[in-house]
Symmetry: C2
Subunit: 352 residues, 2 copies
């Protein structure tokens, strides 16, 4: 604490991202990155864009990327917002749309950045417990409610709420913004983008970090009614005019143009997830049904923290959250075939 700090600073408990160790030969299954690189068309576009035009500012309104996203999803560009990763999009959404007199609601087991944003912006919130199967139950979101946010599929569980459930939330709360955070939706979930035209209170947030293998490029986006998008634009343009650089814009547009690669890599991840879930189950793990690019699993006879430490000693890193209800789970990102095999070999050794 310093006398120079604004009051808010000492009250913050910053988010701690999964570590990015710089060791070689690590099997890195801790931050839900895609095991496959970005589309070759993305890399080609980046090479082309790395030229003298970098002396110029990017398009502050990111028109081409917005139009490309709009075309991809059958929307118009006034229904599209883009930002520096979905974390920035979420941060701006918390400020622009989720601060109201009544509390914001989100699941008790959820993305751990949500309470951090609430603290940053002074947003009152209430968590709603997942059921015993770690599912979101729309009927539990009754009572005073300024807005609602939840990941779908949920993080770190990987469990999804079917679209009918999302629609129930939207119908039950016509006067509250409902943000559906779809960071992982492309690995088997049902996207709520299809509902944007029908529900003016829906904001869907997505990212290029996971299914488009571009965590290193920082591109996120949101879809919703033009009024909601305008709120995000107003706050964004009061914060930073150009959060997306010229290379990120070029790479993101190219990614959307290579549908074949997108389908191929996401299917490969889905196939590996199904195989890994089966292998873990065979080893005695209880694996939650995941539609994400990770699984959330616990072993009835082995402590999760000890397993994580044992894996780390074998150069495999997974994520362990020392938090209520989930401290006996490991969140394991889906690697490529070799990484999954290395994980299983290390686990077999640990459990034997």
């Amino acid at each position: 604490m310093s006398r120079f700090w604004s009051t808010i600073v000492s009250e913050l408990t910053p988010y701690i991202p999964g570590e990015q160790p710089k060791l070689p030969d690590l099997v890195k299954l801790n931050t839900n990155e895609n095991p496959y690189g970005p589309s070759p068309q993305v890399l080609a576009a980046l090479h082309e864009a790395a030229n003298d035009s970098l002396r110029l500012y990017p398009d502050p309104s990111a028109s081409e990327l917005k139009q490309t996203l709009a075309d991809y999803h059958g929307l118009n560009s006034a229904q599209v917002f883009v930002g520096n990763g979905s974390d920035e999009v979420l941060a701006l959404a918390f400020m622009a749309l989720l601060k109201h007199d009544a509390p914001l609601l989100f699941p008790d087991i959820s993305y751990s950045f949500y309470p951090v944003y609430c603290k940053l912006y002074g947003i009152d919130y209430r968590t709603v417990a997942l059921d015993d199967a770690m599912r979101i139950r729309p009927e539990d979101y009754q009572g005073p409610c300024g807005a609602i946010i939840f990941p779908n599929p949920n993080a770190p569980t990987g469990v999804d709420l079917p679209l009918a459930g999302v629609e129930a939330m939207l119908r039950d709360h016509p006067d509250a913004v409902v943000v559906v955070d779809e960071a992982y939706v492309d690995f088997g979930g049902e996207s709520a983008v299809a509902l944007v035209e029908r529900y003016p209170n829906l904001l869907v947030v997505q990212t290029f970090s996971k299914s488009r293998s571009l965590a290193g490029l920082r591109v996120g986006c949101a879809f919703g009614h033009a009024d909601l998008i305008e709120a995000l634009e107003r706050v964004k343009n009061s914060f930073n005019s150009y959060p997306l650089d010229r290379l990120a814009l070029a790479g993101a547009v190219a990614s959307l143009h290579d549908e074949a690669y997108f389908q191929q890599t996401r299917q490969a991840v889905i196939a590996s997830r199904e195989q890994l879930a089966a292998d873990l189950t065979e080893l005695g793990f209880e694996v939650l049904p995941s539609v994400a690019n990770f699984v959330f699993a616990r072993h009835p006879q082995h402590d999760a923290a000890q397993l994580a430490a044992g894996l780390r000693a074998r150069c495999v890193i997974v994520r362990h959250f020392n938090a209520p209800r989930i401290s006996q789970y490991l969140r394991i990102s889906i690697g490529n075939v070799g990484e999954c095999a290395a994980l299983m070999a290390a686990l077999r050794e640990l459990l034997s």
Copy 2:
């Protein structure tokens, strides 16, 4: 206004950046970009970094870039902060360090984003008039003061406050953070980075957008006492863990390693500025003494808005601010030799 908006949204007056028209053959002297491209070493680093590793998140603490900046300025990395352009760095500084009970002070003629940040974060502020020669006078910054911020050289005037004046501000206000916004310092100003070790209340903000020709890459930085940097880190890590993508990090590091190119291009811009100022003076303009990569000039017999419109009709765009005290000035970015010549030819035609 929508019922879904947080209260703050309807109160905002977003910053409007200079336009980024997509027309070819435009002489674009409106947003203070560098007329020269980035260092060839930067482009080579970007080509090298555009590979499969983009599937991975960037280093959230940007350790290599911070260390490179620290080495460059003779500081340690705990005295360095980096962000998505100096606009994001400033936004975080407003939130982390400039919100206090007493008002924030800044010049009446200054970067027009400052009052926007104040509105966003609910910061009370008071503007202090520049003197008649458009200079900042430290002795005018007396009275209740929670913090101070000013660009040096100032924008959009280009006029600098000598380092002795900056030091007077720091000494006069030992309990207030003083932010020196040095976006344009490399074109002839004196940097306050040299004072960081001696004044715990000093934060210096810089950018790679101007003198390093990387407006399109979005990299800004700040230097100050570790306590001030920690405040920025806490807010940044409560907002967005990775505002700098892998390519921006690689390009910025490479830029710092090519000192020869940096010196060569900044000297070329300085030489063009001196020539342009002389040419404009010869045409009857009053040109403020600039140490930036732009000049701020007015013509006693010609209306600035009409001149700007006349230039635009001749495919030359400059910036005109319709604001008190400066509505008769044009802010003209320093182009390359051909661009400056095109500007002068168009002006001669307009004034004849």
